[in-house]
Every structure is written in structure tokens, then in C-alpha cells.
Amino acid sequence: MTMRRIGVYICHCGGNISDYVDVEKVRGTVESEPGVVVAKTAMFTCSDATQQEMLQDIQEQNLDGLVVASCSPKLHTFTFRGVARRAGLNPYEYTQVNVREQCSWAHTDDRAGATEKAIRLVRAGIARTGLTVPLDPTVVQTVPKALVVGGGIAGLRAALGLSDIGIAVFLVEKEAQVGGWVAGFGSMYPHEKNGQELMAHLKGEIAKRSNITVFTKAELVGKAGSFGNYQATIKVGGGKAGAAPAAAAETIQVDVGSIIVATGFDSYHPEAGEYGYGMEGVVTLPEFKELLDSSGLGAGEGRGNGHRDGHDSGRDDGGAGTALTYKGRPVRSIAYIYCVGSRQSRDVPNANTYCSRFCCNAAVHTSLEVAAAAAPRTGGGGVSAGVRQYHLYRDMRTYGKYELLFNEARDKGSVFLKFGDDAPPAVARDERSGRLLVTVADQLTMSTEVTIPADLVVLVTGMVPRSNEELIKTLKLPVGKDRFFNEIHPKLRPVETVVDGVYICGACQGPKNSAESVASALAAVTQSAGILKKGFAELEPLVAKVDPDQCTWCGKCQESCPYDGAIRREQVAEGQGEGKVTGRVKGRGKEVAVIDAAVCKGCGGCAPLCPKDAIDLQGYTDAQIKAMIEGLAKEVGQ
């Protein structure tokens, strides 16, 4: 092999590295490695000036390899690939060496050791670069269509967003109707929007779009193909939305470029006896909201500044005296118990340790509905004379603008009592009066134990993940410790998953109110559009490659591969391989393994299992790894 011409740049990171690694010594030691033509140090290799210097060196010195020894590849891989590209060098002929996280930061107590380790790592990087070949990204054509799984507020809004920018949508909803939770609600916080009306509006919009196809009573049961070009299999039990349900299930195949998962949440279901659940009069928040709506009290007319959205009040009695009843008995006192099924102690099996986020707001808002319906409409005071409301909370989390709801609730006469994490309220029934009694030590009254007589106890239940095992299996969705779906990065990549082209949004990725669900849905739309509108996507070429001359098809690689469809069996004419899979000719001949570069993730799991050593990982070939090990093992003195 002809001698390579490699440039090596070692970074001070302004002291971050050079305080603990003798960068000058590293430079002096690696300068004589075979193939090294340029060896320099720089205060900041990522600075514009140094990038410019590298670019010049590459061009003037005719470099065919680049090694940057600085920080983690997570930070600057793309920076230095860009330098190579601009200089006319193939970006895959560059190697990043991490001497900050792995040397200076890890060994602040041992300057000599940190320096020695840096020398070894840089040598390994040079050895790897000595064996690189130019690589090109795999280009895949993308299909300008998307699949949305789940027709709640997040899924419907995502479908409309995609439709708006000209991406055709298939929406899969497992229930007979789209709408999710919101379609079942009356008045919602903030702004007293009526959930039913809101969803009716969205459904109406969707019906108008010719590029949205809705499947109800349907589920996604299969996914094949690769990023940008998935074949999704949908099992439909009923007909299209609105149509009469068909009896037999049928299976439909659609081609889509991306998949947005918006499967939402379930409400926590209390155990029997948990805060008296199971006793008559102890209900969950969703059950209570239903009760309010069905008695005409939760429609939102009683509250706010008189009117909303041009709708006139649906109630004609002026509100005064509208009685809230439960099983025929009037309700005069309500106790809300917060954080039921949320923020559980780690000692509880499968504890939900998270805060459900929407429920403080929803419960406080609901109590305002009650107050508005029960209060005489005299204007001033606005104090609920009819219904006493006691809120037993752990911490009040009416965050951001919703704090105003909390203030308003206190204004309108709701009483708030705070209980400690270790002293939950107890619910019992008074045998004589038949009323419920809630006993709690109120921290706001010197932990005095008080007993509240209540006609209704509302358990403010949190959000839990829906059980969706089939979908998780089909899409290989990453599930977090809390059993909600996981994004790649909560701040920077909040709707992408580790599965390329599969996005998550809404409450399926963790507790969210409807505004937050919609915001994430629109983020998923943007991410999808980013790849689908361009028409093609470029994928990393760092994937496995089979040498058809060596391969005799034993199938071991396919068995080991975690990705469906990454490795397939094909016939090639004898002698047509020449080390290039693309050169294969179909027809009679031997059977070999062929790797689909768009599906393979380059995990490398197959390579060591091949008995013929026919598989190499591009960019990390066996020869490169061996050379790197030699570079690492070489005595530093040498």
C-alpha cells in the first residue's frame, strides 16, 4: 500500500485538555508515526481559524487522512467532517480521538498517565485513518406520505399539519371513533374550551382533506422496509370513520416515509381500597368530570367573562340553584385528593414516580366549574355558597400561567390542605350519617388532624402509559423506565426516536396537557416533513458489508441481526462478486448474504459471528481494529 499522508491536530481546549495532558509531548511522539505528514497543536481546534488552517494543510500538503484529538465525537464529528468535505477530502477519511473526556477529565490526578493514554489513543486514531477508504452516504428515496398511529388531539393535529404541507396521511385509530380523551370532555383549562366541540372541529377539518385517510378500529400490525420508505401493514376491523363497521377484519398495506406515534395515555386506575376507592361516593377525576358534564354543570358557561366563542349559555336557569347530585343525593361537600397514582414512593411495586403534570390544573379547574355552577350569580364575592370544596394536596403544581387558576379557586372559596408524603389522608364512612369522612393532618394548620365530612371524594388520578405491547414490538419503540415512550434527547431531539423515521408525540411520551401534546405533534410534523419534502435522505455508510467471494450462506449473520430485513439471502453468479455486492448478478450460482445499507444500523453484531470472516463493518474493518489495537499497545517510549 502506498504511504498515506495524514494530518494530526491536537487540541488544548483552552486548558481543558492541556492542563492535564502534555499536548506538546503527544504531538512530538506521534509525529513520527507512519503516514503522518502534519502534526500540530491548537488552542481550539474547533475555532474558525484552526479549521481554516486544517483546510489549507489538507489542500497544500495533499493530505488524504485527518485525525483530530480533542473532545467527544458527539460534539464535533460533523464539524470536522465538514472541514474535510470543504477541503475536498472524503469525510470518512477523518477520525475523531477523544483526549478530553477520556484523558484530561478522567485523570486529573495523573498528568503523566493522562498524557501516555492520550498518546496511545492518538496512535490508534492514526492507525485507523491509515486504512480508511472514501465512503459515500447511502441515499434513499423517501415516500411523501406519513402514517399517524392514534387519533387523539395529538394525532389529529399532526395529520392536519402534514396535510397542510402536502404530505398524504394514513391515520390509524384503534377505537371506533377518533378523538381520544379530549373528545369526552366538557370544559377544559385554560380558556374554557369545550373538548367535545374542539374535537368535532378537528374531525370536521379532517373530513374535508382528500389527502388524509382515516382507518378506525384499526391497528398497525407490521412494518417492513427502511427509513423513508416503510411498508406498513394495517389490520382494519371496521370501515372508514363514519362508515358502517364491516364485519370481517381486512389487512391493508401502505407505503409511508415516516411514522408518527400518538397513542396517548391511560388514566391511573386506583387499587380497590386505595383512598377508599370502591366505596360509593369515591370517584376518579375522569369519573367526576363525566358526572359534571352529564349533569350539565361542566359545560363552561358559568365561568369566565360571560361568553366564550360566540356560544350562548346553554343553561337557562341562570346557574343559581343548579344542584349537583350523586346517585340522587345532593352534593354539598367535595374532597379532592391529589397525586393519586403519581409521585409514588419507590417502595410501591412498579411505582409511578413522575408527576402527571396536568392533574393539579385539571382538578383546580374542575373545582372552579363546580363553584361557578353552585354560586348565586350576584357578581360580587363570587363565593360558592352551595358546595364546599376541600383540596388535599402534596404540592400545588399549577405551573406557569395556570397559577391564576389556583388563585381564582382560593378566591372562590376552595380550601386547600397540604398533607405530607408520609401522611396520606384516610377515607372512611360515618356509619350514622352515611357520609364520607376524610381525615388528614393539615400541614398548613400546624399539622392539626382534621376530619372533613364529604358527599363526594374525588381522587385526582394521574396519567399512566397505555398498554401497547403489540405496537411496541412492531415498531421496536424504545420504552423508558416509566414505561412511556422515549425520545432520543429530551431537550434537543424531543420527538425523534432511535428508530429512524419514527416519531413520538403527545401523552404517549409522558404526561402532557393538550396544548403540550399539540406542540409536540407539530414538532413531529416538522421533523417528518424535513425528510419527506426533500425527497431523499442520506444515511451513514458505516454499515456492514459482505464479501460475496468469501460468503457461503450459512445464515448465522441473519439470525444474529436485530433489524428485520437488513440481511437477505440472494443468488449471485459464481465469480461475479469481486468484493462488491453491487456487482452481483441474479440467477443461478451460489447463495450469499446481501446487506441492505438502508436498514443496517452498523451495530457490527454479525461480523464476529461469520465463520468465513466475510463480513466487515465499513469504517471499522477488522484490519482497522487490529491496527488500532497495535497502536494502543505500542510502548509509549518507542
Partner: protein, 103 residues
């Protein structure tokens, strides 16, 4: 501490003294107790809790305290919750006059 039995109507009985009674706006921060020149520990936040929760006996037991307030409003100008403390104390006195002193 013994379990207090609540009289849910207490707050309305006290409120009869003044429509301005707004103890529920109190967030229990304690600023009032800290600036009180009389060093009245119980006023007003604890007392307000008693009223809100309907702990009638505890309110009546503190008749003495309710009358030792100077109504100087030192607390009121410092209250971040906008509680009309002096007005609320007046309502309480009204209540005590009727319920304890039978005036």
C-alpha cells in the same frame, strides 16, 4: 393532637361580619407574623386556617388573641397575598361578639 371536628358553615358565619373576608387568599407564608409589633404568633395565618377549615372551637379559644390585635396593618402592607388582614380581624371580632359574648 385531637382530631378537630369541622363546622363547614363557620366561614359563612364569620363572613357575615364583612363581605371582604378573604382569608382564602392567604398562602401561609408567615410574613404577617414576622412583622407583627405585638408578636402575635397566632395572627393571622393560623386563625384564618381555623376559620377556613371550620375549626370553630379553636377560633373561640383564641378570643383573647383576636382582641389583642392593634389593627395597625403592619402585616397587611407586607402581605404578598393581598389578604385584607385588618378587615378580616374585624369580621372575626364581629363573630366573637355574637357567638362568645352574645352581644
Amino acid at each position: 393532637m385531637a382530631v378537630a371536628v369541622l363546622n363547614p358553615d363557620l366561614v359563612d358565619m364569620v363572613r357575615r361580619g364583612s363581605h371582604d373576608f378573604n382569608a382564602s387568599a392567604c398562602m401561609n407564608c408567615g410574613a404577617c407574623s414576622a412583622v407583627c409589633p405585638m408578636g402575635i404568633q397566632l395572627l393571622p395565618r393560623k386563625l384564618f386556617r381555623y376559620v377556613l377549615l371550620g375549626m370553630e372551637d379553636q377560633v373561640k379559644e383564641n378570643t383573647e388573641t383576636i382582641y389583642s390585635c392593634l389593627l395597625c396593618k403592619m402585616c397587611e402592607v407586607n402581605c404578598p397575598g393581598g389578604v385584607h388582614i385588618a378587615e378580616n380581624v374585624r369580621s372575626l371580632r364581629h363573630f366573637i361578639n355574637r357567638q362568645v359574648f352574645r352581644l
